[in-house]
């Protein structure tokens, strides 16, 4: 009886511990809260300049980077 009680206590402790482990840390939650939408948005902001430039230039013919051609003109 005592052993069963001990095992059930240990079991509930490990379950609680596993649940705690799954909860995100403060730094991560703050990071998620930095953005009004998905945190993926920061990647867009990081690449924004290039993403703005590329469609204006259009697809590069024969695998060439037309950015260079634009720049050299």
């Amino acid at each position: 009886m005592r052993a069963a009680l001990l095992w059930s206590l240990l079991g509930s402790c490990s379950l609680a511990s596993a649940a705690d482990d799954e909860l995100p840390g403060m730094e991560f939650l703050e990071y998620l809260g930095l953005w009004e939408e998905s945190d993926e948005i920061w990647m867009l902001m990081d690449e924004q300049v290039l993403a703005e430039v590329v469609p204006q230039i259009g697809p590069a013919p024969h695998g060439e980077d037309s950015v260079e051609k634009e720049d050299e003109s």
């Binding site: 809260g33 924004q48 590329v54 469609p55 720049d71």
Partner: protein
């Protein structure tokens, strides 16, 4: 005139951010899900700066609404975010502040351009990145001027 316009936008952004950060979030105003995620911080909640309370409450809300796969992807992005130099992170946050202030149509256009860019082959993206980084400020300005011009023309059409 253009510089003045940008200054006003930046000033308004700074003001709105400061105002938002001034307002803390009461623990009792959090949803049950948010409280569950933030349970470990309940005791110290009232002593936290308002800005942190805001970010944590938003973050907890977002986390609670994510699927396991989304959580995993967000954690991967977070790992990348942490590796960025402080200056780059600051630049991204500044751009994000300006982006949020853009009209919805402009935001949509930028997102579409971004999708287009992401679809390019990885090697090509890298080459474009390198090329852009190597440009002088004058070359970048010329390129941006051309973009603005083309955008104006396409808007007129």
């Amino acid at each position: 005139m253009k510089a003045r316009h940008i200054f006003v936008i930046v000033a308004l952004l700074a003001l709105s951010t400061a105002m938002a950060e001034d307002t803390g979030v009461a623990w009792d105003s959090l949803s049950a899900q948010q409280q569950q995620v933030l349970d470990r911080f309940a005791d110290s909640w009232d002593s936290m700066p308002p800005g942190r309370q805001q970010r944590l409450s938003t973050g907890a809300h977002r986390w609670a609404g994510m699927t396991p796969r989304e959580r995993e992807a967000a954690q991967t992005r977070f790992a990348l975010w942490r590796e960025l130099p402080d200056e780059r992170r600051e630049r991204i946050r500044e751009r994000y502040g300006v982006f949020r202030d853009l009209p919805a149509a402009e935001q949509r256009r930028i997102r579409e351009n971004f999708r287009h860019f992401r679809q390019l082959h990885r090697d090509r993206r890298e080459r474009l990145r390198d090329r852009y980084r190597d440009m002088t400020p004058e070359q970048r300005q010329r390129l941006h001027d051309r973009m603005q011009q083309r955008r104006r023309i396409s808007t007129r059409d």
